[in-house]
């Protein structure tokens, strides 16, 4: 059973999606970021970085509870433990890992900064808006070119790489991007979105 400390941000939704894809038992404990619930001593003890998602696997290694933060690490742990969404063959496995790192190191931080400067920053900073919007568009282009050759983000099958990228692409309006500009991302996005487990995962917590 997984206790999931979460909020429906792009990173949070990855975990809500994978537990539905894997059909495992879980309970969501909302951590309302707008109320600063990530800063409590109890939550900080789970993640010193004070970010969601955090999971506790009550049936962890050695039969002990196991706490994990970082959405990418959580996806890897669950996929490996339950034997799905992460191919065994070393070349395919690391193709998935590569694209997961592309999301964790590139898409996440840069789209996140674009969201901040386009929507949330208390002052308008043109240099930053341009920098992060341009980098966001560049990353969409890399993804679109890749998905012109491939049906899924990695290894020719639906994997944790697709789960990691999808909730960030969902925020296309925040990025000022239209799907018309990126037809391969559009095709892939529709294929992920129509998966019933993805729908259930998105419904589990909805952004306010």
């Amino acid at each position: 059973m997984y206790d999931i400390y979460n909020w429906p941000t792009s990173n949070g939704r990855k975990v809500n999606i994978i537990v539905e894809e894997l059909e495992v038992d879980y309970k969501i404990h909302p951590i309302a970021l707008g109320n600063g619930e990530q800063f409590t001593p109890e939550f900080t003890a789970l993640n010193p970085n004070q970010k969601i998602p955090v999971v506790i696997d009550q049936d962890g290694p050695g039969g002990k509870p196991f706490t994990l933060f970082e959405s990418g690490a959580i996806l890897l742990y669950m996929a490996e433990k339950h034997g799905k969404l992460f191919p065994q063959a070393l070349d395919k496995r690391y193709e998935v890992m590569q694209w997961l790192m592309f999301q964790m190191g590139g898409i996440g931080p840069n789209f996140g900064q674009a969201h901040h400067f386009r929507r949330a920053a208390p002052e308008r900073v043109p240099y930053a808006i341009e920098r992060y919007t341009n980098e966001t568009r560049r990353l969409w282009g890399v993804l679109d070119d890749h998905l012109n050759e491939q049906e899924w983000v990695a290894a020719g099958e639906f994997t944790i790489a697709d789960i990691a990228v999808f909730p960030w692409i969902m925020r296309y309006e925040w990025q000022g991007i239209s799907f018309d500009e990126f037809p391969n991302v559009s095709r892939w996005y529709n294929a992920v979105e129509e998966r019933p487990a993805v729908q259930r995962g998105l419904d589990a917590q909805k952004p306010g």
Binding site: P48, N49, A121, E123, V125, Y127, A128, E130
Partner: protein, 87 residues
Amino acid sequence: MAPKTAVEYGQKRYSEEMLRLIGVLDFRLREYEYLAKTYTVADMAAYPWIARHEAFGFTLEDFVGVKNWFNRLSKRSAIVRGMGVPS
């Protein structure tokens, strides 16, 4: 497009976030010798970023856990070779 003037909002945002993140590392490294308790790729990934502390504008003197970890790693011959510093 290069900024014509220093972007104060950006500088403040990222220098604060940088110090916060180093603080998270420091909290961990005051408890454990290495990030994942024993020496692993996690340490190798963090090391080159901490090595650039002068360029990034922070001092290890403020972070005793990171400082001790950094000094410990800096003595590893593979790290010396990998970083291209003559030993």
